[in-house]
């Protein structure tokens, strides 16, 4: 067997394992009440503790985005429209995936490392021999915590980003608050908001699944833990941009359908 075969086979195996693990964990969601303490802990680690960094990121992204679009719109005397562009981009695109990026960097990598350390220290085996299913005890609370907090952070992050855009629009571009808000309102309709949340949910669940799966498959001590963490970041980011493209394409089709074109 050459390395190429192995790489492909391993990738397929890894993907299969991840999917099965995710489904198993989702099957254990029925135990959420029993595991509520673990879920709350995860929600705290994933959500509350990531809030400051997410807000900081989204604020600056909103500000830069306003500046950039402001420069272009000024050429056509349409600076008032920045609100519209910022909101539509923030709600459906920047909000969901920038939040996903921040979470993968901050939470996904450490989640994989944590589970990887458990695996290396035989804690996962210990759970197995105690007949405690790791998919229920370890994976489910993390997936659920991530799936709840990812979208929640996206909402907050998006609002902060829109606010950041507004500040720049008002102070640097000279757009009146009333104008900013008037156009901002037109930037997104309810479907857009749901779509943004759907994206965020997909990103969160896939990132959590990748992190847990890489953690659970860790072997080879500290080096293996590092590898699990690195693979998680790379794979999760790849999945996010990939799913994002799919979902945006799908969104366009839905829009066309609603408009009666399709």
């Amino acid at each position: 067997m050459n390395w190429k075969d192995n790489a492909v086979i391993n990738a397929v195996k890894g993907a299969g394992y991840t999917l099965v693990l995710l489904l198993e964990a989702l099957g254990h969601v029925t135990q959420f009440w029993r595991r509520r303490r673990a879920i709350f802990t995860q929600m705290h680690v994933i959500g509350t503790q990531s809030l400051p960094i997410t807000c900081f990121f989204m604020l600056l992204i909103g500000m830069v985005f306003a500046l950039q679009t402001g420069i272009e719109f000024a050429r056509f005397g349409q600076t008032n429209l920045v609100g519209l562009v910022i909101v539509s981009a923030m709600v459906r695109e920047l909000g969901p995936w920038m939040t996903a990026f921040v979470l993968i960097a901050r939470v996904g990598s450490s989640m994989a490392a944590e589970i990887g350390s458990m695996k290396v220290a035989e804690e996962i085996d210990a759970l197995e021999v105690m007949s405690i299913n790791p998919s229920s005890f370890v994976v489910m609370p993390r997936v659920v915590g991530y799936a709840l907090m990812g979208p929640a952070l996206t909402v907050v992050g998006t609002l902060v980003g829109i606010a950041g855009g507004g500040i720049v629009a008002n102070l640097q571009l000279g757009v009146a608050w009333a104008d900013y808000l008037r156009f901002a309102e037109r930037g997104a309709e309810p479907l857009d908001i749901y779509w943004g949340l759907l994206k965020s949910l997909v990103f969160s669940v896939s990132a959590a699944a990748v992190a847990c799966s890489n953690g659970m498959r860790t072997s080879g001590g500290a080096v293996g833990v590092g590898r699990a963490s690195r693979n998680t970041v790379v794979i999760a980011l790849t999945l996010v941009v990939f799913f994002n493209y799919l979902l945006t394409s799908f969104y366009r089709m839905v829009k066309l359908f609603v408009a009666g074109v399709l």
Binding site: M118, E122, A126, E128, M130, S131, G220, G221
Partner: protein, 329 residues
């Protein structure tokens, strides 16, 4: 399910297992009787932990049959394995405590997951188990806050929380100071004598093996090279067994000084040594050597060169597997 009337607790019949292209278990055969302490010795990285993993169904053999109290486990479904595993308590090499739970919660975990006991009843049992291992006063600490030896003892408390019939130990005394290692040995003997537990212990520590074992099995090249009582193993005529139990120190440097180094005694003290630690013949020989040879300078306080010479080279290539580093770096 078994009626529990079997005399044999665990039996391996012609069990073979290949891992990453290497034959780790090769027609492995042995039986463990109910109520005995069965000690498995053998070189590092040869497959003793793999043997234990087969026993609890964490690994499945390529061939062969493994029976636990008469039940064939190699073909069990995941669900059946989960039920079967409740008969086991396992102490892993590093304790394998859950990092985000306190010692109390760690020991409580199996009770919480598998019984419908009241909180009070659970607390009682946890207290009882933690007192056995002398950790009740540390119940609110997290695993990261305690030493390796304490982790192992807490792991043992957790392993026996559900009063299992069978307890497996993977190197219970490695990385522990002699006093605590000794305490674990006493505990193992207590569990056998007072609770009638069947125990299987993987260890490198021969002193401990002689203290706790009803029978000792030497694992070598995928199967049991010899199984016998501690006496039989000590007087074994099989070179590999002798090599292992003496730490490979035999016949390398002059026998006399070597003996002194192993035992940590001056040559004149040899005769006072307890008979069970070394066979009488060996002691006589060593004593005779002392008598005939002229004591040299720096005899007890060996020069570094000599000490280095007396260190045995590794008997077998050690695996570089990370699991071999048992203790915190």
């Amino acid at each position: 399910m078994s009626a529990g009337s079997y005399e044999i607790a665990v039996s391996f019949t012609d069990v073979s297992k290949k891992l990453s292209g290497r034959q780790i278990l090769d027609h492995l055969n042995f039986e463990v009787c109910k109520g005995e302490t069965f000690v498995i010795i053998g070189y590092s990285g040869t497959g003793k932990s793999v043997t234990l993993r087969h026993m609890v169904g964490l690994m499945r053999p390529d061939e062969g049959s493994i029976r636990i109290e008469g039940d064939e486990i190699t073909t069990m479904s995941r669900h059946e394995l989960e039920i079967m595993r409740r008969r086991f308590g396992v102490l892993f090499q590093s304790g394998a405590l859950i990092a985000w739970l306190t010692l109390f919660e760690n020991v409580e975990l199996p009770l919480l997951e598998h019984t419908k006991m009241s909180k009070k009843k659970r607390a009682e049992i946890v207290q009882q188990k933690l007192e056995i291992v002398n950790l009740w006063q540390d119940r609110d600490k997290y695993p990261a806050e305690i030493s390796g030896g304490m982790k192992k003892r807490a792991g043992l408390a957790r392993a026996i929380a559900l009063d299992p019939d069978l307890v497996l130990y993977d190197e219970p005394s490695s990385g522990l100071d002699p006093v605590i290692a000794n305490e674990i040995d006493k505990l193992i003997n207590r569990l056998r004598d007072e609770h009638g537990m069947t125990q299987i212990v993987v260890t490198h520590d021969m002193d401990s093996a002689y203290t706790i074992a009803n029978r000792i099995a030497m694992f070598h090249k995928g199967s049991m090279l010899q199984i016998g009582t501690p006496d039989e193993i000590q007087t074994s005529s099989i070179p590999e067994v002798q090599h292992f139990i003496t730490g490979g120190k035999e016949g390398q440097v002059s026998r006399r000084s070597n003996t002194a180094i192993i035992r940590g005694m001056a040559p004149g003290m040899l005769s006072q040594r307890s008979a069970e630690a070394m066979d009488a013949k060996e002691a006589e020989e060593a004593e005779a050597a002392v008598a005939t040879e002229e004591p040299q300078e720096g005899y007890v306080l060996l020069s570094e060169e000599e000490a280095a010479k007396s260190e045995s080279p590794e008997p077998e290539p050690r695996s570089l597997e990370p699991e071999e580093s048992h203790e915190n770096p």
